[in-house]
Amino acid sequence: MTMTSTSPLAASGLSAATLRRIEALAIPVGALIASALVFSVFLLALGKSPLEFYGLIWTGGFGSSFSVQNTLQRAAPLILTGLAFAIPARIGLTLIGAEGALVLGGFSAAAVAIPLVTGGVTAVIGLPLMAVAAMLTGAVWIGLVGWLRHYRGVNETIASLLMSYIAIATMNFFVEGPLRDPASANKPSTMPIGELYRVGPIPGTTVHWGLAAGLVLAVVLHILMTRTTFGFAARMTGGNVRAAQAQGLPVGMLVVGCCAIAGACAGLAGFFEVAAVHGQANASLVAGYGFTGILVAFLARQNALAIVPVAILFGALAASGGLIQRRMEMPDATILVLQGIIFVVLLTSETLYGRIAFLQPRRSGDRT
């Protein structure tokens, strides 16, 4: 290496790649802190104490082993829906339909369980079948959005949200009609899947296996997107579709593939909501996990591994909601306001990339 190219980097002691990593960590963390400050002003304006609020989030989210497990329980679907946003984002698509894929996936799992349970099939065979049904449903549902995007030029953001509403209406149709459990009077639901079909907790904890599935998928998908030709081709397509096509990459297949993976993740989240949390499919599946997942993915900068800690953070926010409601006498929507502020501040902070002077690698031509 020549002196001109090494000296500026040597001056800071850090490589360009390291600086980029620091920037990618510093800006989202800065955005979080800024959001916390903005939200403090909001709380002060309402005459509430920000210190008490953040203290309660700590207590409610991480304060005891019970609250940690509560946090992890809520983080599990967020990891999966975060992945469902992040994977298509790498190929340049803004998909906001994970909520629908989660609902429909959970519903399929519950629907498949009905003949299995009445037929007396053991859970060892039945549960994987339910999971596969949920993932396939999600994959087809979101894959269809990718297909429409690539082959028909339909805007994927709006299409995926419309598909979400159609998915929820589809579940309501079956749950109120053909597949309704007559015993569910006040809250129409499918037949309960029964105790034998419940996914139990991870041994030694009260957290269901969805967390483990989320962790494994985050690692697998991270490797897929960063270490394989599929991931490389997908990221290249995300960078420049025309260049990817000129290179002869199967762009259509990549787009539909990434969407199908996303749908499968969301569908799997739905499976765990049914098999580990609710025990049947009903309106409780529409809990906003799909939308919080979008925020999780943005904060993690679409990095599959970073989604895990971010999902845990938002799991803690959700877990402490009840405590904040009781102790500070604030509505449960308080967490929604905080999430909205984080979302807006975070996207505003996108403008800072490449503009914080001391985080930029000095090019060889620059004066030192």
Binding site: L162, T170, N172, F173, A333, L336
Partner: protein, 306 residues
Amino acid sequence: MTGADLYIVLLAMIGGAIRVSTPFMFVALGECLTEKSGRINLGHEGNLVLGAMVAYAVSFMTGSPWLGVLAAGGAGLVLGAMHGWICALPRVNDIAVGIAFMSFGTGLAFFFGKSFIQPSAPGLEAIGLGDWTGNSAIAQALQVNPLFLVGIALAVFLSWALANTRWGLILRMTGDSAASARAMGVNIDLVRLLATAVGGLLAGIGGAFLSLYYPGSWNEGLSSGQGLMAVALVIFARWDPIRCVWAALLFGAAGALGPSLQSIGISQGYYFFNAAPYILTLFIMIASARSKSAASDAPGELSIVK
């Protein structure tokens, strides 16, 4: 289904179209204005919900529904201006910011709206356009809200102003080619900020209609995607304010399909018919994507059609 039943369903759908279409119309006109300037605001769902809540709260506290409408417009204006300001920063993606504002506006509305779910606020009075017929079914179908008429007048005005005024020309030029607008000395960020802010104001008024007229009360399930469907509606209407009105009526009629069928005793598949507007929107998007006429009418700077 007999002829009389068909008549009842059709009448209910026309009435439903008039009743349900107004929020679609206002959001679509606001979105149309925003998109004409070359920017897209997906956050109108947030404006709609916040507008609904603010209108209801102000109407409850002051006793005047029209003050509520004004306040809803103000809330929408603030959200729109924030969106417009943030999107003017370099490297910020307008679609993503829209998603953020959807959740921000909804969160604020749910937070401040908790205490207004129970009390009942004075709503907007309807004008009975069909009263002279003496037929109660027709009279009921033609109960028109003043905001519906305001929306139509606004569409006519926008359509005229876009084509015939200096402001309209500047707006269209900013949307079609930022480079030429800049060369003409136009401050494109300012034009887009104003267009997004006014667009947000209109979406907020659309929300006021939801809580003050139909369905006519405030609750958290009040809006179910009307704000987003309006974006698709604008594409379908090919960025023309008058066509936005027709499209809004069509969407309103689709939304009224389920309740109309229920009124003659067909309640089977009620939830399926509730999904009709979404399915219709999706098919319209599939049909209008890549069509030549849609492409030529689209503002050139718009990210979703690029």
